[in-house]
């Protein structure tokens, strides 16, 4: 037997022995209740203030708590705040925190922590920046109290503090909140219902949250981000590796995962057919697609061309192609999402009551000289991947020349920040999607503004629009706000800041034994029971 | 007493369809008795190797014995089962092969390769086996058997490896040993030792030996009886002495006639012909460049001073590794010499830069040994021949005309210019190479082992052609060979080389007549069949008693 023969034999023996030993060791641990969740994208950045990514916001809701919350009816409800008073001239707001609020490291939550958290939030969030233009100073007369002094009265203080979606004003310990707003925080101590298990966190693999035993939920039933955040499971695991749509469907069918936050539209047919899986619509307000023009460069530096384009972009075509499931989408003329306080329809006839022929006439009348329109198409983001193709086809039918350029989402994000001409690495059109709370308020809706260079990508600029928005910010009574919203939207449609492309919902898929999903603009994991 | 060990009766073996002939072997009958050495002799393709493999039951599936029988001590091999054949091999009959370099398993120690036979065929314990292996190693005169046991084939010389092969074959004392050209790939001196060993072992063990060869010198040296084969048929069989001196069949006569005689032919070369090329203290040293450790520098050629005159042939004779090819390649500047001068018509081309050298290259042309790799397979014969002249501005038409004339000179029909090398035999290709060299109208033609790869009969024709060309065109020629007989026929002057040095240099008659240097004498002594006078239709035993074969000290 030469050496090689001996080598192979001993290798085989070693392998066999290992297998037998291990099999006998199959130990059955006591089964703690584990909730296995597949979030809608990979959790990479853990600072919900530093980035507006929705996954970071969901992570925030797990480990942090908020002063106020927004219930299912979009009304602001107290969360950490016990009681608050507003001075008659509406320029002094003083709040008292409810008792028993503690951070994970055991220290009580104080006014100082709140002030530090709010000021860090105010530097990055759009609505926060607006609010801080009104704030003179903030102070904490007692450990469980804090007061906000306004230079001028404004009507959206509570709406800002209870803001449900991106850059949510989470409350962090002062030592963490003092980190510079443009550097990511390193410490993940919060006062929310779950504790973040930092050592088990592996980006791209999994994130782990343990139940916070000392968390004292409010009495009220849970509703949106308001109400009591009771926790019925011991541990929540986010599976960050499972992003292939077909594997997700297979995994939940086999019970290897409990919740799919946002299955792909194509998966719903299979999920509905599966008896062991139920579809739960936890975000009725859903999302709105949007098509943004680049106002700096031709052809969309001319308002008439923008309106001709809006006329051609009928929402039905987009929704049918991208979502495809009748009951999950509906056209909505409003820029601030339908059936929300400011979901007005004024000015939307340009899009709602138009057809291709009208669009072609408008385009001829606009003096469009045929310069090609560069549309950026993300290849790796299924949720909005098909919108650019539909836009290209519709615009071509309307008479535009279209150059559809494909790239991954990160290139889209980096290119839309460039102000160069479309030919030199710039762009003309890109599409995206917002969760309704981000755009249902004229102040938070990034697209509806006229700030020009300092505004959101696309840089639409219009003093008239800015004046209207400023008046809206100052208005305090509801009726006045509603009429201001109508004026803003009419103006926005008039100058064609962007084209809303319809709304849709992406309900979660949940294993039969899992109940108690909280409805709201994000995915929240309190109040969930698992058999 | 001696019932024949091996009896072959009208053996017929069929070739697969599409071969150049229907049967590899046709109705061959002969027998081998104990203590007897029978030689099967014939040119390549004569079927001698096929017969040997048939006897051992090693024929590939494509060659089937269709008639006749092969009896090993009465038992018919052709009918035997694979299992039975395995039992017989190495126990009753053994075989040794031609290429010692590749006949042993390179990744297995030599001792183990012998031990393997004992382990399979006997029930001896490890100690007994080891003793038996050491014993057979001493029988084959291998130095330090202990070290030999543990060494790998690549660590020992060709001759030693052939002795290991013989040890493997004879360790179980078979009655029949088949030797398929065992010494053809060896040096002349090593070949002599192996032949002696086989004769000695035959005397001791009484084995019947079937010896296959194409070299009549070897036949003369060791055979008791000889069978001559041509294209699968037994042409003639007789005792060695009768066959060599009175060959009956015309083919046998032709074969014997083609073997050049060892005594040089007088050529009357004028001593005062102008010198074409002279070398002074030419040397080539390969500095071994081990990265971390310095291996000794190898002196391939040292202090070589020769001269070649117009109309004459200088022979460069020596065993492999003696440096004769290195000298030739230095002269043609295929490799750059380390020292010394090469004077071509007065100019020293040893260190001349490539640009200037190119003008002088036309004057020296070379013909290589391997006919199958000397011609670019992708080019027609015509293009190969006219490539040279066209390099020096000769128009295509004129070069083609010259090529046609050369085809006639080398006796090939004109249309071969349009065909491709693969459509020609070895001998024909060598003629094309000669034509290609002559197309340059060189002053010096170098033949580097130009005929060694050819059959004896084809060899004779090419040598005759070279002679005729040398006389007709009054060329100077440098003829490199390891075969003394060929050197004797062709050369006017002979230089004998050993380990990079010229040990003897003079006119052929004096060098062959009475060699001065001890190495030259050993070389002649080792040449097989020197007791016989070849060179004409039949061979005569040389009147003077040649000196007996002494096993010169191994180099």
């Amino acid at each position: 037997m030469t050496a090689i023969g001996i080598r192979i034999r001993t290798l085989a023996l070693a392998l066999g022995a290992a297998a037998v030993l291990a099999a006998s060791l199959a130990l059955a641990q006591g089964e703690p209740k584990v909730l296995r969740v597949v979030p809608h994208s990979n959790l990479a950045i853990l600072d919900p203030i530093w980035t507006t990514a929705y996954i970071a916001r969901n992570h925030g809701y797990m480990i942090y708590d908020t002063l106020f919350g927004t219930d299912e009816k979009s009304r602001i409800q107290p969360q950490m705040v016990e009681s608050w008073t507003i001075s008659p001239d509406k320029r002094l707001y003083s709040f008292t925190l409810r008792p028993g609020l503690e951070f994970h490291d055991g220290k009580p939550v104080t006014g100082e922590d709140v002030i530090a958290s709010l000021s860090r939030w105010g530097k990055r969030d759009a609505m926060g920046q607006k609010l801080f233009t009104f704030i003179e100073k903030m102070d904490s007369p007692a450990p469980n109290q804090f007061r906000i002094f306004l230079g001028e009265a404004c009507g959206f203080v509570l709406e800002a503090l209870g803001k449900p979606s991106s850059n949510v004003p989470f409350i962090m310990p002062k030592r963490v909140a003092d980190t510079d707003a443009f550097k990511q925080i390193e410490d993940y101590t919060g006062s929310g219902p779950y504790i973040f298990k930092r050592d088990e966190y592996k980006p791209g693999d999994k994130a782990v949250y343990l139940k916070n035993p000392k968390y004292q939920p409010r009495k009220e039933p849970p509703s949106g981000t308001a109400g009591g955040k009771r926790v019925y499971v011991d541990r929540v695991e986010w599976n960050l590796a499972l992003r292939d749509a077909q594997s997700q469907v297979n995994a939940i069918a086999k019970g290897e995962v409990d919740i799919l936050e946002q299955p792909a539209f194509e998966s719903y047919a299979a999920l509905k057919a599966d008896p062991s899986v139920s579809i739960v619509n936890n975000n009725p307000l859903g999302f709105q697609y949007m098509l943004r023009f680049n106002h700096l460069h031709p052809p969309f530096n001319n308002a008439k061309v923008r309106r001709a384009a809006i006329a051609a972009l009928n929402q039905e075509a987009f929704l049918k192609a991208q979502v495809g499931i009748k009951e999950y989408y509906h056209a909505c003329p409003s820029m601030f999402t339908c059936n929300t306080p400011y979901g007005v329809t004024k000015g939307s006839d340009i899009q709602a009551k138009s057809n291709m022929k009208k669009a072609q006439e408008l385009l001829k009348a606009s003096g469009y000289d045929g310069t090609p329109v560069v549309i950026m198409k993300p290849t790796d983001l299924a949720a909005i991947g098909k919108l650019p193709d539909v836009a290209a086809q519709l615009l071509r039918q309307a008479g535009f020349k279209v150059d559809l350029q494909s790239m991954d989402w990160n290139t889209v994000v980096s290119r839309r920040a460039k102000k160069d001409a479309p030919g030199a690495g710039g762009w003309n059109i890109f599409c995206t999607a917002w969760v309704s709370p981000d755009i249902w308020n004229p102040l938070t809706n990034a697209a509806v503004n006229g700030l020009g260079d300092k505004g959101w990508f696309g840089w639409s600029s219009d003093e008239e629009l800015e004046k209207l928005r400023d008046q809206f910010a100052r208005a305090t009574d509801e009726a006045k706000k509603k009429s201001m919203a109508e004026a803003i939207q009419a103006r926005a449609f008039e100058i064609g800041t962007h084209a809303p492309l319809g709304e849709y919902i992406e309900p979660a898929a949940v294993r039969k034994g899992v109940t108690g999903l909280v409805t709201g603009p994000g995915n929240f994991y309190w109040n969930i029971k698992k058999k | 007493m001696n019932q024949p060990v091996l009896e072959v009766r009208n053996l017929t073996i069929a070739l697969p369809p599409g071969g150049d002939r229907a049967r590899a072997v046709e109705g061959v009958s002969f027998s081998v008795a104990p203590h007897e050495m029978v030689c099967l002799v014939g040119e390549s393709g004569s079927g001698k190797t096929v017969i040997a493999h048939a006897a051992m039951g090693l024929l590939p599936k494509t060659l089937k014995a269709t008639a006749g029988e092969i009896r090993l001590q009465g038992e018919n091999i052709l009918g035997a089962s694979e299992q039975r054949l395995r039992e017989l091999r190495c126990t009753r009959m053994s075989m040794i092969f031609q290429e010692p370099m590749t006949a042993l398993n390179p990744v297995m120690r030599c001792g183990e390769q012998i031990d393997e036979v004992l382990r399979i065929h006997t029930v001896l314990g490890p100690q007994e086996r080891r003793a038996k292996v050491l014993d057979i190693l001493t029988q084959v005169h291998l130095p330090e058997p202990g070290r030999m046991l543990a060494s790998y084939p690549h660590q020992i010389s060709g001759g030693q490896r052939q002795r290991i092969m013989i040890a493997i074959a004879l360790v179980l004392d078979p009655v029949l040993l088949i030797a398929d050209e065992p010494t053809t790939a060896l040096d002349v001196t090593t070949q002599a030792q192996i032949l002696l060993l086989i004769k000695e072992l035959q005397r001791v063990h009484g084995t019947g030996v079937l010896f296959i060869t194409h070299d009549f010198g070897v036949v003369a040296e060791i055979a008791h009886r000889v069978a001559v084969l041509r294209t699968g048929e037994l042409v003639e069989m007789n005792a060695t002495r009768e066959l060599l001196s009175k060959p009956q069949h015309a083919y046998t006569r032709m074969l014997i006639g083609s073997v050049p005689s060892i005594t040089p032919r007088h050529r009357g070369a004028p001593a005062d012909a102008p010198v074409v090329l002279r070398t002074r203290a030419l040397a080539k040293t390969y500095a071994a460049t081990g990265w971390l450790h310095q291996r000794a520098a190898v002196h391939a050629a040292l202090e070589i001073s020769l001269e070649i005159r117009r109309g004459q042939t200088l022979g460069l004779v020596g065993e492999s590794g003696s440096g004769k090819s290195t000298v030739a390649r230095c002269i043609t500047r295929l490799i750059d010499p380390s020292a010394g001068e090469i004077l071509l018509g007065g100019e020293d081309i040893a260190t001349m830069p490539a640009g200037k050298l190119r003008q002088l290259r036309r004057h020296i042309q070379i013909v290589f040994q391997d006919p199958y790799r000397s011609l670019n397979p992708r080019r027609s014969v015509g293009d190969s021949v006219i490539e040279g002249p066209m390099n020096y501005g000769v128009s295509r038409a004129e070069a083609m005309a010259r090529a046609k004339k050369l085809m006639q000179l080398v006796r090939l029909d004109l249309n071969s210019l349009d065909r491709y090398p693969h459509q020609f035999s070895g001998g024909q290709r060598q003629r094309i190479c000669i034509a290609r060299a002559l197309a340059m109208e060189p002053e010096l033609l170098i033949a580097d082992e130009a005929v060694s790869a050819l059959d004896v009969s084809v060899q004779a024709q090419v040598l005759a052609l070279l002679d005729e060309i040398r006389d007709r065109l009054n060329l100077a020629m440098l003829f490199i060979t390891h075969d003394l007989r060929v050197a004797a026929q062709v050369c006017d002057h002979v230089a004998v080389m050993s380990q990079g040095r010229v040990v003897e240099y003079g006119p052929a008659s004096s060098v062959f007549g009475n060699p001065q240097h001890e190495y030259t004498r050993a070389l002649f002594a080792a040449a097989p069949g020197r007791l016989w006078e070849f060179g004409n239709a039949n061979a005569r035993p040389t009147p003077r008693l040649g000196f007996p074969i002494r096993a010169p000290t191994p180099i």
Binding site: A245, Q246, V249, N250, E266, S267, A270, K320, A321, G324, M356, K377, T379, A382, G385, K386, D389, V390, Q393, R396, Q397, L404, S406, M407, D408, T411 | S44, Q98, E181, T184, A185, L186, H214, S320, T332, R361, R362, I364, I366, F368, Q369, D370, Y372, R373, S374, N376, P377, R378, S384, E387, N391, Y420, H422, G426, C433, R436, M440, E449, S452, A453
Partner: protein, 307 residues
Amino acid sequence: MPPTAVPAEAAVAVQIKGGLWRALRGNWAVMMGGSVLALLALIAVAAPWLGTVDPTLFDPASRDLLPGAIGEITDLDGATIAHKFLMGSDGFGRDIYSRVIYGTRVSLIVGAAVALVSLLFGVSCGLAAGYIRWLDGVLMRVMDGVMAIPGILIAIALVALWKASLTTVIIAIAIPEIPRVTRLVRSLVLSIREEPYVEAAVSLGTRTLRIMFGHILPNTMAPLIVQGTYICASAILIEAILSFLGVGLPTDVPTWGNIMAEGRVQFNDFPHNVFFPGVFLALTVLAINMLGDGLRDTLDPRMSKRI
């Protein structure tokens, strides 16, 4: 090496010209592979006339139709025409049959172009490395460097980081292949350089350049052609993998990889999205590999041991 007395018939040179075509026709693998490939090339060229529609046209109404269903397609100026979806439709409502047929074009172009580019660069580097001594060391170290980086990773990085277009994909797939070709050519050149017919050419006074291109290059043709077919086959496969990973050609460009990448989302329920392009892809790569094997056995039997 002592001269071998028995002439070696083993020098298996290739029968040239007349004999070559007969040998090629005789080889089963070459015929099979060659004819399938020719058919695919024909399909690629005749794509518009094979009952196909514009592959990028889609109509949300005819989404996810099963093979053989009748649906409608809206063309550029808005008119809708009835259309029989032979291979069903994808998530956009595009006709899979047309996309697969047009996909043949892209895949064959990618395969051929990658093979050409890598052979071109590989041969020139290989010849240079084989013939020019000082260049050999430097060049081969760089080639080792490129070869050490797994090909797929280079392709992914280049395609995703440059803008995704046909040329980027071709360059990205070709770059990792170049070192392999270079090493093959270099080893061939080094062995052919030692052949007597090259030394004879030197002594005939032929200039170095003429020797390189007149004697050495022609004799590397056989192994190069075989290597070229293997590169072509693996290039088509890698293009499909790149699309699958979402870093390949833009999804509106119909390639088999794209169709499968988009279709994989509903693999269990609508396998036709992946099945038809998968079959075409496997068939093409199979045909090219068989052609490669066949060529290897006919052109250069010695080559067969170097896969």
